[in-house]
Symmetry: D2
Subunit: 254 residues, 4 copies
């Protein structure tokens, strides 16, 4: 039984994870931390992490950057591993995360979904085989019409994952309408589709002579990030100090 403290338990992701753990016979949510609480959770909730005295095997964090300093202090002091999902940390906070990871296990990833993290890994292998055989590589991502940036951070992470295999020789191209030429070999086209409420689709396309191999990931809701965090917590419980990411979770499962 893996005992978990949910940091940010009353946020949207905190509630999603509460549900996922409640349905998992191998896990137990023993306490929550949140700045506000109305008592509706079936576990004790502390509005100040310093007052939480419940023993746990792992903390899952989906909170806000402002709460992360106290969280890291707590993890180090109590020697509880932490799956850290809050984004937008400052440089100083990132340095503090590194420091904490010398004393306790910390897991941090750009994207918590199991599917995307598996793709990040398999794409390296696929590109290693297909690119030398002449396949061109393209990425198409689709997101909702409120997303401000393009392409998505995940699309760039997928491209980077491939590019690392080739000493970063590939250039990324976002617009072909302004040129008139054959496609250069060492390029990855990245297209960003925006519309409706699409949560996040990513296609990585390897196009060769008369055959195309495509790796696709579709997210149907933000709950997938919760699912990945729960997997990560199971993995991290009992691990020695150090910095981990989702690819370690996947490697351990294989």
């Amino acid at each position: 039984m893996v005992k978990v403290i949910m940091h940010g338990c009353n946020g949207k992701m905190g509630q999603v994870i509460s549900g996922l753990i409640a349905a998992d016979p191998d896990m137990e949510l023993v306490a929550g931390i949140d700045a506000r609480d109305d008592g509706h959770n079936p576990y004790p909730v502390f509005t100040d992490i310093a007052k939480c005295d419940v023993a746990a095997d792992c903390i899952i964090d989906f909170s806000a950057a402002v709460a992360v300093d106290k969280l890291l202090n707590y993890c180090v002091e109590k020697k509880i591993p932490c799956v850290l999902c809050t984004t937008g940390l400052s440089e100083a906070q990132l340095a503090k995360v590194d420091e904490a990871a010398k004393k306790v296990a910390i897991l941090k990833s750009a994207n918590m979904s199991l599917g995307i993290n598996l793709m990040l890994k398999l794409l390296k292998e696929a590109a290693g085989v297909l690119a030398p055989a002449g396949f061109d590589i393209e990425i198409v991502e689709k997101h909702h019409n409120l997303k401000l940036d393009a392409p998505s951070g995940t699309a760039l992470a997928l491209a980077d994952s491939i590019n690392e295999e080739f000493d970063n020789e590939y250039e990324y191209v976002y617009d072909r309408s302004t040129r008139r030429e054959r496609r250069p070999k060492k390029e990855i086209g990245i297209s960003a589709v925006r519309g409706g409420t699409i949560v996040g689709d990513h296609d990585v396309i390897f196009a060769g002579a008369d055959e195309v191999v495509t790796f696709s990931h579709t997210a149907y809701s933000k709950a997938v990030f919760g699912k990945g965090a729960v997997q990560a917590a199971k993995f991290l419980a009992g691990k020695p100090a150090g910095m981990y990411n989702m690819s370690n979770v996947i490697d351990a499962a294989m």
Copy 2:
């Protein structure tokens, strides 16, 4: 039985169409025209169209712009309808086509595939329903890595077909990486994927609140253009003088 003369019978498309007509019990290829001939076709071939004295119900043309003037003269003189598929005509030739159409039936379209021409028609209806209901419109096209231009002429024709329904209020956007903003409502994103030997894929995406409707067309070979030309020839045989296009063929079939 529709009797056809194939203009440009020894070119790639001419041979494709020869095969399609041979397999069609309602059609007969009665003669071919080509600058060069080695006698391998099962029908008589004339290297000079002026010498062709075979009666026919329609001419299908996949030749070269240089041969089109004599072709038009022949059609007008013999009163034979013509499915004109050669592209890259000069302004003077286009004017001559219009003149010829006053005396004989001429059919000319940007894309001869039945599938794309059906989509051009249905998209107008779809956009008329979905755009007012808040759906965003996006197009993704994919072609081989030798294609020089982007986006494809067919992708632009699909976008134009929709835009006409809305007084051309929509702007086309080819690159979102250089801005940081919510998607404007009156925009159609057009993405161009390039790779391998992809003949031509076109997706038109209507993305709304929690649902997405997609119209997709995949071409597996250039033979689809031949198929459309054969359909067009059946339609055009016996028609009065005038300018026709593939949407007339589709309307007649419905």
Copy 3:
């Protein structure tokens, strides 16, 4: 301003529709009906429809079959049009719906999503063009792993919509593993994929010589049915007595 009464306001769909109407400047939710209420809605809720004395232009119903008889009585008596989305009605109730439609406007459809209802309409046109040109028709639907029946009712409705165009000459085939033969022309293959939490994907595939046209619909949540119901309510307000369905809503929008 279209004033709506929500019948079944505290159910999942009732709450979804409450949110959609709150965000629509042209509509107002003036009252709710539900067997149970805890007072959390911003509009008055009646636990007995007979006691609801609020004037409205339309009722939207997502309740339970047991509540439909009283609902129909109410609509007829108050002359309020009704978008009836509850399924599983008895034969007697369906007869009662028909009776009610003689006195007040009633709208009822197998699937309330705008996208699927548009596809039902466009597929007839597409099949009318493509089937005579030799295209084969196939349907692939995907749903979550808890769904008991296969294929989905919506997949069958899509097939029926096409089949009606051809005097129901097409046979549906669900399994090709038990035979060894070329595909018969007058057949529609319907494949059912089951897995995870997929809300509902439907692909209708027209496969011809070297080209494939696909119509796809993806639902990301059950909210799409709410959206369709809201569209329907706007349409139905002020309409004379009669039986309507979602295709009337679409026709009116075109």
Copy 4:
């Protein structure tokens, strides 16, 4: 420079491979073997393999079962490795292949396309991660309307590749229309779509909670098998005696 003899050089695949090798600066087609020849190839052609005295590093075979016995004798005698692509060998011939592989390198695979063979490999890894995390596995394949069997041999090979990872605990299901129940966990649904001239599409779908990962392969022509054979010949040249398959080619490339 890898010198190749093409066995079956005047067949469709033989001509495809002739073209591929002509375009490859690292390979040379030094001789062809075929029962019939009209002298149109740019390399010497022998109608009897026993008379071929041209030195080569590898033989590529796309011929007919009846020609395979003499081919194997030749390979063993001359010590030339062989990429054996002819299918439909008898039990006696398969035994002879095994014997030959003790003396010379022989490569034989169910499907010669690089893309499918890569997928066979990556799917094992993907299933090892995703199945324990609760993802359901489904396969959808699409082929032309003349194909007699369903599902395709390649779809079954993909399923088997996954099933081997789980001690063959998964059952394959081809029809869900005859039952009414929740999807069993240990099942792989395999759907077969048939239509038009589709060369061969294969989707392997992993559907989890709120996310779906799909591996897709599309073949645009049978030339992809030629491309795989050429890759295999490069790999096999110089290899010691033994039985190889396409996964060895892929492993070597990684």
